[in-house]
């Protein structure tokens, strides 16, 4: 029996067991929306802006290890997704984004709501397709899901002209699909793994440096086991938080620009670094020349060969899936009883660095943002899913909320996209019903996707918005204070809306908190009395609070500025 392209699209999504579709309708996808109307297995989430659809699908994927799926129309529908695509691409998140296109006969004629989707999305997706024949539709969608989820994951766009969704053909969904040009390596090279294990066992000052790849590969438990067997310190990147329990004594905290003193010092002075699913980026190791001046051996596990030896020359590259490779390491590295005695001196040095208590922050009669995060952590017992926007509040969240489990910390690490927090929280809510989801944001970021408060009302999502309101674009203001002699060029956000009234206007609960003693009661009220409501908490915080420790851009990892240095 022949069915329409639109019905084929929906059937493909059924085959992929898609339960949520984040989207926004328009002319080119009307046939698909009509097919969607005639079924009830997929729930469509109508967002208020296509960017939010991609962010929500992205967080759905991040918080559940499934694929996020999006449906938007041609032209502006597509251009609005670009920020979302680039965000997901930078953080390697599996998405399938279906976009409408003008009918094939109109392509290239500047038709209404036409844009070159394949061209415009190319640099910010793992791959994209334009389907010109209905008989290619099912196999293309299968390929899209396969490419999005295998190897280094990433977003894939499938552009479908309107006439293709009207044409008919017999539906057949392939179980598997082969592409001669696409064969990601999964298993690590055993010889390399053996060399790596040997190096680790002989190390006097080893450290494990684990990034988002551990979370993407669902390898947290194996990483934790390996770290316990080795007895070595572990540091996480911003993307890797939760990949190793933050409350574990072997955890030295996040490293990098706003990493802890002990993590950065240990990373710099280690004799053997085991990097797993991390990419030595500029925010992590600072100046490469400074980092490489210190002799050390580096073992680098990554599924993407191009991440290896990109910024830092690596001694033992191991290409493959982190989970499979850690299995092999565990076979070679025996369990130790108690802390490895060889590492005694190393731990003594680390404890000295740790005793510096680099995350201490100044007292104030105003609300300190760090305090809000600490209290949120205590009240939620560290079990909430935290989404964050981008800026000071993001760094405070990473520093003061201790993530013991993976997929609870959802933020835009690579692209650093302001505005992701609220739509991220939506996606996390759909993927994790019953789990507390808090969006930590600032008054700058939240306004970049604030229209989603309306979507949140429509779907009754009990998101807790923690707005750390300092009246400034805080992170930029901090850099202006430190590096531009306090010339606060366009970082003061005047004429802010009354967020309490705004939340109420959207049908939510709004709470303003101005005094430190009201922080805990407000959080408790939001999480108990208003457990089932979306609550917007506007914390008026000390505007002078800055994020420390800090390694300034372009500086070496050990050139650390502490809060009291200013």
């Amino acid at each position: 029996m022949k069915i329409s392209g639109a019905e084929i699209v929906i059937k493909c999504l059924h085959e992929e067991k898609v339960d949520y579709l984040f989207g926004f309708p328009g002319g080119s996808v009307l046939h698909i929306y009509d097919a969607l109307f005639k079924q009830d297995r997929i729930k469509h989430i109508l967002v208020r802006h296509e960017q939010a659809a991609v962010h929500a699908a992205d967080a759905y994927a991040r918080s559940s290890n499934r694929v996020g799926v999006v449906l938007v129309t041609s032209g502006p529908g597509v251009t609005n997704t670009i920020t979302g695509l680039a965000t997901a691409y930078m953080d390697s998140i599996p998405l399938v984004v279906l976009t409408g296109q003008v009918p094939t006969a109109y392509i290239g004629q500047d038709a209404f709501q036409e844009c070159d989707t394949v061209g415009i999305t190319r640099p910010c997706v793992k791959h994209n397709f334009l389907v010109k024949d209905v008989s290619d539709l099912a196999v293309t969608i299968k390929k899209a899901f396969m490419i999005a989820t295998t190897g280094r994951p990433g977003p894939v766009v499938v552009d479908i002209p309107k006439d293709v969704t009207a044409q008919t053909c017999v539906f057949e969904y392939p179980n598997t699909v082969q592409m001669r040009s696409y064969n990601p390596v999964i298993k690590g090279h055993l010889g390399q793994i053996r060399k790596g294990a040997q190096l680790l066992l002989e190390a006097k000052r080893p450290i494990i440096y684990a990034g988002g790849g551990v979370i993407l590969a669902d390898a947290s438990e194996k990483l934790t086991e390996l770290a316990h067997r080795l007895g070595c310190p572990v540091t996480n990147t911003l993307m890797g938080l939760g990949g190793f329990p933050a409350t574990d004594p072997q955890f030295v905290g996040m490293l990098g620009m706003h990493g802890t003193y002990e993590a950065n010092m240990a990373m710099h002075h280690a004799d053997v670094v085991l990097a797993i699913g991390a990419r030595f980026d500029d925010r992590v190791i600072g100046d490469t020349a400074h980092f490489c001046a210190e002799p050390r051996k580096i073992i680098h596990i990554d599924i993407d060969p191009s991440s290896i030896s990109k910024r830092v020359k690596v001694d033992i590259p191991i290409v493959g899936n982190a989970s499979d490779i850690l299995d092999e390491f565990l076979k070679l590295i025996e369990s130790q009883t108690g802390r490895n005695p060889v590492l005694q001196d190393w731990w003594t040095r680390i404890e000295e660095w740790r005793s510096r208590q680099c995350l201490k922050y100044k007292k104030s009669d105003k609300i300190m943002p760090q305090y809000v995060i600490e209290k949120l952590y205590e009240i939620t017992k560290g079990e909430a899913i935290i989404t964050s926007d981008v800026g000071q509040h993001q760094m405070f969240s990473a520093q003061y909320y201790k993530f013991d489990k993976p997929r609870r910390w959802i933020n835009s690490g690579g692209l650093g996209t302001m505005g992701v927090g609220l739509p991220f929280a939506m996606g996390a809510c759909f993927a994790n019903p019953g789990v507390t989801v808090a969006c930590i944001t600032g008054e700058g970021s939240i306004q970049m996707c604030i229209q989603e408060l309306s979507t949140i009302k429509q779907f009754d999502l009990p998101i807790k918005v923690i707005c750390l309101n300092n009246g400034y674009l805080g992170m930029v203001r901090q850099w202006q204070e430190m590096f531009y002699a306090s010339r606060y060029s366009h970082t003061y956000v005047s004429s802010l809306p009354d967020f309490v009234k705004l939340a109420e206007a959207y049908g939510h609960v709004g709470i303003r908190v101005t005094r430190p003693e009201d922080v805990v009661p407000a959080l408790q009220k939001a999480l108990t009395e208003h457990r089932n409501d979306c609550v917007f908490m506007d914390f008026i915080i000390d505007p002078t609070a800055n994020v420390f420790p800090m390694v300034a851009a372009g500086k070496g990892l050990t050139e650390i500025i502490f809060s009291e240095d200013l």
């Binding site: 490419i147 040009s181 060969p305 191009s306 030896s309 990109k310």
Partner: protein, 163 residues
């Protein structure tokens, strides 16, 4: 260092722009680029001449391999290979220059493939360096137009780039 990178990729719409886009997005340089289908019509072969250190070349090859449409990548200049480029050059050939131009073409083993009363079109094949020297050997004021294909290359002997 100058490298000749050969790429086998799916002969699909947009595949070339993925390769070209990668070079511009990551700041790699392209000196010449040629593309045409192979004997297997489902595959195209691109030859790119680029410059970069060994580290940069390693990244270029890795990044190219990451493109989903790319089937195989080889740095031809890593081992013995042959490179050729074709140039068509239109020159003024009148009066006393006419005989001299014919002689120059012969010295460089070029062929005159179009003749008018005052011009020749000379076809010349060889390494890029040879084409450069031919241009250098002519009186610049006599060159009316040049067009070059960019480098094509192939490995010597048993070095074969095939699926």
């Amino acid at each position: 260092m100058r490298h000749i990178v050969s790429i086998l990729l799916e002969n699909e719409a947009g595949a070339l722009s993925r390769v070209a886009g990668l070079f511009s997005a990551r700041g790699y340089n392209i000196e010449t680029l040629t593309v045409a289908p192979t004997e297997d019509a489902s595959l195209s072969r691109i030859t790119v001449v680029t410059r970069g250190s060994d580290d940069v070349l390693e990244q270029i090859v890795k990044q190219l391999n990451k493109l989903v449409d790319v089937v195989k990548v080889v740095d031809l200049s890593e081992a013995a290979h042959i490179e050729r480029e074709l140039m068509l050059i239109k020159v003024r050939a009148a009066g006393k220059d006419r005989e001299e131009m014919k002689r120059m073409a012969e010295i460089f083993r070029g062929r005159i493939i179009d003749v008018t009363e005052s011009t020749y079109v000379i076809e010349l094949t060889g390494s890029s360096a040879k084409l450069d020297s031919f241009i250098g050997a002519l009186d610049a004021s006599l060159i009316l137009e040049t067009v070059r294909t960019g480098v094509s290359g192939i490995g010597r002997g048993d070095r074969i780039l095939k699926v």
